[in-house]
Amino acid sequence: MKFKTLNLPGRLAALLLALLPLAARGAGQLNLFGWSEYVPQPVLEGFTRETGIKVNFETYSSNEEMLAKLVAGGGRYDLVQPSDYTAEAMIRRKLLQPLDRARLAGLGNLAPEFTGRAHDPEGRYTVPYMSGSVGIVVNTEKVKTPVRGYREVFQAAHRDRIVVVNDSRELVSWALYALGQPVNTVDAASLARVRPLLAEWIKLVKVFDSDSPKTALLNGDVDLGVVWSGEAALLWRENRKFQYILPAEGAHQFVDVLAIPAGARNVAEAHRFIDYILRPEVSRQISAAFPYTNPNLAARRLLTPDELANPASYPQGGKLESFRDIGRAAADIDRLVTDLKSAK
């Protein structure tokens, strides 16, 4: 069939058929399902250059989003990047497969405090990727009073000058910390206790943004907030007026891990990728792009003094705590926050 003899739709169809194999090639690939913008492009390219394995990178912006797709059985991924408490639930549900630790030569590079944590005590299923905390960031040019904890953030004086991450569990846990309650055993009684306090706080907030809370701060639309430490680190790098403070009442520390889903097809490729990430010079690249806390000690040695001095990446002191899976209470938390927000 000559191309010329086809009419326009026919020609488009032919073009399409020609393009399809180009867009979806087979062998030697890795389907990575990770957080939006958490794996730098040069790292993916370096891996492909060295191994010849093509990386298909698909992103999500919350653990729940990833689970939604993974649990429904739709996505066929070889490597996922859950946070510790989500990984814990996934292990319990048999959604992850054990790693072959013999294939991961770089495991020794990890700092001991990031291995054998509660979500995976024997390190059978997960390898830490990056860690961080949720803390207070203050534009010290605008806010002159000292801010040490959540209660000092949420004051009438800061009405409409506050940005917080748009995450119901985080919001509720700050109120729980402020009231001295445990954050990992949430029930109707503890939610009833935080309700009045949280109602006050939510009225003061100008922006809820989980994806890029730094934007509102950088643009001067707000003066302080409670955000991911990586966002705060980027702000500090941009301008030293943005100070990061770990809340005195206690703060959430998260470890995002790499893990292989139970149904993965390219298991060998997934292991090679994890081991590639564990290399100091590769992990160092990730730190440069996303200045969270690097759990890789060998990589940390390659950082500049300036990077190590970033108070948001490597905070001093502070009471840090991991989240645990809270099961059904997650829905109650969401309902409480929806209720309080819409009451405004």
Partner: protein, 292 residues
């Protein structure tokens, strides 16, 4: 291929060949519209387990939850936002559509394309551009400062006004296109006749033009109102996610709280609302206008 007997009246019953041609449409509707809709309905009758997986079953609990005043208020607020957006789109878009459709044929399609061009960029990037315009140190405040140096910068971003601006911007073409199509079909002679009978432009519009373009308006209003009710990205970005709308709540059930059955129930309720309003619209519309 056996030739079909000629069916002269347009209401003929389909023969074998016509049924064969209809088959792909019917199959598509059954497989990808009816079955998913039923799955959604089934899901809304189920329950969420500890981990957030759907336990299929039969319980009306999720529908009972809908009656909680919190969600009723959110429903009403969403409808209000969508109605305001639709009204503004109509006010802003109708004159444009009219002008475009009445322009010389050569410029007409060019102008229409010009209206569509901005929408080839991702709506997210456009929304971010609006943020750059509306923020405290943004373009609009720079203009205000230049015109009225004494004024304090306006806090425009992260307000309901910003949300409505974003919504009107996103949906304006969906109103302009159908109204344009119905104005273009208007018989010029009809309007001439009205003029010859001594009616000025201000009389002709409400008595002749408006009734004749009603089908276009109805289509445009539906195309704007329906997606505006369920929108969540614009409200999050331009409104600072402060006031939840129904789209945000549905989104949250699926992607945050992982309560799919309740999310499905909210969705079924929303769809039910649309279907009822469509039936009401159809009942209200005169038969003639339907043929448009």
């Amino acid at each position: 291929m056996t030739p079909e007997p000629v069916a002269r009246d347009p209401g003929a019953r389909p023969g074998t060949l016509a049924w064969l041609l209809l088959a792909p449409l019917l199959a598509w509707l059954a497989l990808f519209v009816v079955v998913p809709a039923l799955l959604l309905l089934g899901c809304s009758l189920g329950e969420r387990d500890e981990f957030g997986q759907v336990l299929w079953g039969f319980s009306l609990e999720n529908y009972a939850r809908l009656l909680d005043p919190v969600y009723l208020r959110i429903f009403l607020r969403s409808l209000g936002f969508a109605a305001l957006t639709t009204g503004l789109c109509l006010l802003i878009g109708y004159p444009v559509a009219y002008h475009l459709a009445r322009a010389a044929p050569r410029v007409r399609e060019l102008l229409l394309l010009l209206v569509m061009v901005p929408f080839w960029t991702s709506f997210l990037v456009r929304t971010y551009a609006w943020m750059a315009i509306l923020r405290e140190e943004g373009l609009l405040n720079a203009l205000v400062a230049w015109l009225q140096p004494a004024w304090a910068p306006l806090g425009l971003l992260y307000t309901p006004a910003a949300v409505v601006t974003g919504l009107v911007y996103s949906y304006l073409p969906f109103l302009i296109l159908p109204v344009y199509a119905s104005v273009e079909k208007l018989d010029g002679a009809l309007i001439e006749a009205a003029h010859d009978l001594g009616a000025g432009p201000w009389r002709v519009f409400p008595t002749v033009i408006l009734p004749l373009t009603l089908p276009g308006i109805a289509a445009g209003v539906t195309l704007v109102f329906v997606p505006a009710v369920a929108m969540f990205a614009v409200t999050d970005l331009l409104g600072g996610a402060r006031v939840p709308l129904i789209g945000n709540v549905i989104q949250n059930q699926f992607l945050q709280a992982r309560d799919w059955p309740f999310g499905a129930a909210l969705g079924v309720a929303l769809l039910g609302l649309f279907l009822v309003s469509q039936l009401v619209l159809r009942a209200l519309r005169p038969r003639g206008a339907l043929r448009g």
